[in-house]
């Protein structure tokens, strides 16, 4: 076994774990010790290895190779223009996923992120790294437990639960649902992150409806989960138009903006400061996360500027073409799940869609690994292994 040559899947999963490690630590209070350099170097090394996999390991015909090269070039252009390498890494991981079992990808993601999250929490509780605490008058005290910001901690937990839902989809029962609710409750006490908690609770009806649709012959029961995909373009457009027409003098708009912690006004500010581009631009942001963010937070949010909605980030930072492609990928994944009567990914993507309406984690692999399903093999590893064996035997 040790003498066997490295397969494309092994290479891919190895690169995935390696990248997850660095990108996860980038979002923790370890970051001041590491700096952005190791993260950036890891990003480029991973992208290079994955591109190597596409051209050396994956057997594509010429036409497919050209299509993949075309999309890779778009990602490279957007990376150079926006100076954010998230798009490059995400594109490389999506395009290099051929013949890699998607279940294995999610398993790798789940265990790596879970171990990292638990150890970061432990380190912060013990006091080796900082535990940032945010106190807002009128709201509960929010702990980040070693992550840069409380809502990011909540998002990590949300996406871990989603990975768990995907992996255990067939076995899900009230034990799982109850434990998700308990986690949501704990998360509410620790981080007070409203959106992620709503999303965790929303998982239960979403999955129940998807499960009902799987068995049912009634078309109306099947219609609801089949419509999950429609939320992707709908919410993407709504977050764009809702921000574009934001008017602070409108009573209803003002209340919505207040409920979203001023996200609409910051979104509109981004549209005043920057124009719309096809392939992206550099957007200077100052968030509340990390040590630097905490000092902004303690000075009355002066200088704070951050685009939260993933869809708006796609449009403003990565450009209109990249937005259309990513939204298209999400729609394709969601519809494909329904067509194959395999609703697990569709249900998970529905929650991702809602989470991304307010939060920024769509392109961050340490949060969202579900876009990698596009070219990955939907079968489990054992099936791939058996099919491979049969092929060898038939030869």
């Amino acid at each position: 076994m040790l003498n066997a040559p490295v397969t494309g899947q092994q290479l891919y999963l190895g690169v995935l774990v390696f990248y997850l490690f660095f990108s996860f630590l980038r979002n923790t209070t370890f970051d001041p010790y590491l700096g952005s350099r190791p993260f950036n170097l890891a990003s480029y090394a991973c992208s290079a290895l994955l591109i190597l996999k596409i051209y050396l390991f994956d057997r594509y015909n010429l036409k497919d190779k050209l299509i993949i090269t075309f999309f890779m070039l778009i990602a490279i252009c957007s990376w150079r223009l926006s100076t954010s390498n998230l798009i490059l890494v995400m594109a490389a991981f999506i395009l290099a996923a051929k013949d890699v079992s998607f279940t294995n990808i999610i398993k790798c993601y789940f265990y790596t992120t879970l171990i990292l999250l638990l150890s970061v929490m432990l380190f912060s509780v013990v006091g080796i790294i900082k535990d940032l605490v945010f106190v807002v008058h009128g709201r509960a005290t929010r702990y980040a437990l070693g992550i840069v910001y409380p809502t990011d901690l909540a998002s990590h937990v949300l996406y871990l639960i989603l990975a768990n839902v995907y992996l255990k989809y067939q076995k899900l029962n009230w034990h799982y649902y109850l434990s998700y609710l308990v986690i949501a409750f704990l998360l509410k006490l620790i981080t007070d992150a409203r959106l992620s908690i709503i999303c965790i609770i929303l998982i239960i009806p979403t999955v129940l409806m998807a499960k009902a649709a799987e068995k049912s012959q009634c078309k109306i029961v099947r219609l609801i989960p089949s419509l999950y995909w429609a939320f992707i373009p709908f919410l993407a457009f709504t977050s764009f138009a809702g921000t574009y027409f934001f008017d602070n003098t409108n009573h209803i708009y003002y209340k919505i903006d207040h409920a979203l912690s001023g996200r609409l006004s910051y979104g509109l500010m981004s549209m005043y400061r920057y124009r719309f581009t096809w392939l992206g631009q550099k957007v200077e942001e100052t968030g509340l996360g990390g040590n630097k963010g905490l000092s902004v937070f303690h000075h009355g949010n002066i200088g704070y500027f951050y685009i939260d909605s993933s869809y708006l980030r796609l449009i403003m930072i990565y450009g209109i073409i990249v937005t259309l492609i990513i939204v298209g990928v999400m729609i394709a994944l969601s519809i494909r799940g329904v067509m194959r009567r395999d609703y697990a990914l569709t249900a998970v993507l529905f929650i991702v869609t809602i989470s991304c309406f307010v939060e920024q984690h769509l392109l961050e692999l340490s949060y969202n690994p579900f876009l990698l399903a596009l070219l990955a093999n939907p079968k489990t590893i054992s099936e791939v292994y058996i099919v491979g064996k049969q092929k060898v035997q038939s030869k």
Binding site: K219, R222, S226, T238
Partner: protein, 206 residues
């Protein structure tokens, strides 16, 4: 569905159908809001007439008199906008003008303007009707000439500049046609998405 198979051409056809439905809704939505905004747009006409309030510069204390006059300008402006002048103006307005308006509208439409270190007060009347604006501003200037000396003794001479005419009124369009058309288009896209996506899902996916 297991038994439904779609070729690439089918997919492209379905996607195009959706896009066309959404575009139709966008155009209809944008068109409706455009018509509404046009219907709602208003044009206002502003007529101007100036007055100057000063004392004889040949007098011995001319310099201090000019300073006093300058210091009084804001008070004069308030007096012109005040109730006494307004009521006097209202009485002097011809009947055909008075028929279509009210004393409150007259009071709201009058504004004054003055440059620093100038003794000239420019009176402005802004209404939706050019004739009305002209009548308002001319009569207010004449009423000011009549009433101000009654209100403040030793005010000096109130010199009224030539009458405002229909020709030298300025007009301004108040509308946000572009904004409302865009809002309508956006709402149309949202409605189009809702309808076309539900239909597509019902026909092809569920």
């Amino acid at each position: 569905m297991e038994n439904k198979k779609y070729s690439l051409n089918d997919l492209i056809r379905i996607i195009w159908k959706n896009i066309i439905v959404i575009i139709i809704f966008a155009v209809v939505g944008g068109g409706c809001f455009y018509m509404l905004a046009r219907h709602k747009q208003t044009i206002t006409y502003t007529a101007e007439r100036s007055i100057m309030i000063s004392h004889n510069l040949n007098a011995k204390r001319a310099r201090s008199q000019v300073s006093a006059d300058l210091a009084m300008i804001p008070t004069y402006e308030d007096m012109i906008k005040g109730r006494q002048v307004t009521e006097s103006t209202w009485k002097s307005l011809p009947k055909n003008i008075r028929k279509n308006t009210s004393i409150k509208l007259l009071s709201d439409s009058i504004d004054t303007n003055n440059r620093p270190d100038s003794l000239i007060i420019t009176i402005k009347a802004t209404t939706k009707d050019a004739k009305q604006s002209v009548a308002f501003v001319n009569n207010t200037a004449m009423a000011a000439k009549k009433e101000l000396p009654k209100m403040q003794q030793g005010i000096g001479e109130v010199h009224v500049y030539p009458k405002a005419t229909l020709k030298n009124t300025s007009s301004e369009k108040h509308s946000s046609i572009k904004k409302w058309t865009l809002v309508g288009t956006a709402l149309g896209i949202v409605a189009g998405m809702l309808i076309s996506f539900v239909i597509t899902t019902w026909k092809h996916i569920a």
